[in-house]
């Protein structure tokens, strides 16, 4: 009788210990998921293309979309960059009904976003740089960067995404060519 009571107590003890452990494991796993995920946006993009290469995110360009670009009435393109190698400049010539851009850090957090109402004359011309690079650029601002939007991002690796609205089918070729002509390249000073 006494021995079975002791065994029950031991079992209860083990279960309680397990539950406390489950709580700890829950927190640890939750915090480690972003660190070790191989399915995040950066990993998916790096499987599809190189740094500084614009990659279409919608299915329109053929094949399955690289990163789920949610809105069916939107086209999107993205490029990965590394500010450790220098300042990156993103340009897209022409006009479309609506564009918006976002800068994401390595783990996919949205750091900065703006849309065509912010830009000079509605033309997409942006420079992404770190605060330290910003100080250097400010000393002697090149002529052709006068109209650009400067995005100061305290990151090294990141993702730049351009989203464009496609109101109806007749806009598809225009919006597509806007995204095809967009560029993402390292800028020298």
């Amino acid at each position: 009788m006494r021995s079975s009571y002791a065994a029950m107590r031991k079992l209860l003890h083990a279960v309680l210990l397990g539950l406390v452990g489950a709580g700890i494991v829950h927190i640890v796993v939750l915090l480690l998921v972003p660190e070790f995920s191989e399915r995040d946006a950066w990993s998916r993009l790096s499987m599809a293309s190189d740094l500084y290469r614009m990659t279409r995110l919608d299915a329109e360009a053929g094949g399955a979309p690289v990163v789920k670009s949610v809105d069916p009435l939107f086209y999107a393109t993205a490029c990965r960059f590394d500010l450790g190698e220098g300042v990156v400049r993103i340009k897209a010539p022409g006009h479309v009904p609506f564009w918006s851009v976002s800068v994401y850090d390595r783990s996919g957090h949205n750091i900065y976003s703006f849309n065509d109402h912010t830009a000079n004359d509605g033309v997409l011309d942006a420079v992404v740089l770190t605060p330290a690079q910003m100080i250097d650029v400010r000393k002697d601002l090149p002529e052709d960067l006068q109209g650009a939007i400067f995005v100061e991002a305290p990151i090294e690796e990141g993702i730049f995404v351009i989203r464009t609205f496609v109101p109806d089918d007749s806009w598809k070729p225009i919006v597509s060519s806007f995204l095809e002509k967009s560029s993402c390249e390292l800028q020298d000073f």
Partner: protein, 194 residues
Amino acid sequence: MLKNALLTLLSLVIAIGGGGGSVWYALKAQDGVGAIRIGQWTAFPDIGTPAADPYSKARVAREGVLALGRAEGLSFVAERDAGGGELKRECTYTIEGGFPTARFWTLYAADQSLGVVETGKSRPAALQSYGVVRQPDNLVIISASDHPMPGNWLLTGGFGRMYFVLTFYDTPIASSTGLSDVSLPRILKVGCNA
């Protein structure tokens, strides 16, 4: 001795299985921390920002989401109608009411993964605000159905669960102060195909 080993094993199984399983379950659930509910519509304004909670961060990393920024827009998802029933692809719904201030909005019917539903037709299962007919008082009435409807017709089709995704672009409601007195359209069930 063997009994002690078994008990240790039991503790470990509960700890690792329970901990891992509960994270997996929490990340699969549609509803989450940091949600804002307006009528039947749910939005996660903080998702994808550095200020997001750990669950949103883990979900972003696992699903490879690149969330809309504040200057881009804000998405709302509805999974139930005004009567509390789950949205079904085989049913007809009326979405009616006023829409908050935005440059434009888009509305589409989505499946479980929040991708647009496959209808097999050339007409997209999506509408946008430049292409809808408005009432004299600026309200919009949309009929979501798998067969043609008069007025604004949102094509759906197929069987199973459905979600409506309503996204406002370049909108002041995306800033946190703007969300307090926003009203969104209601979703009313009209009927279902048997």
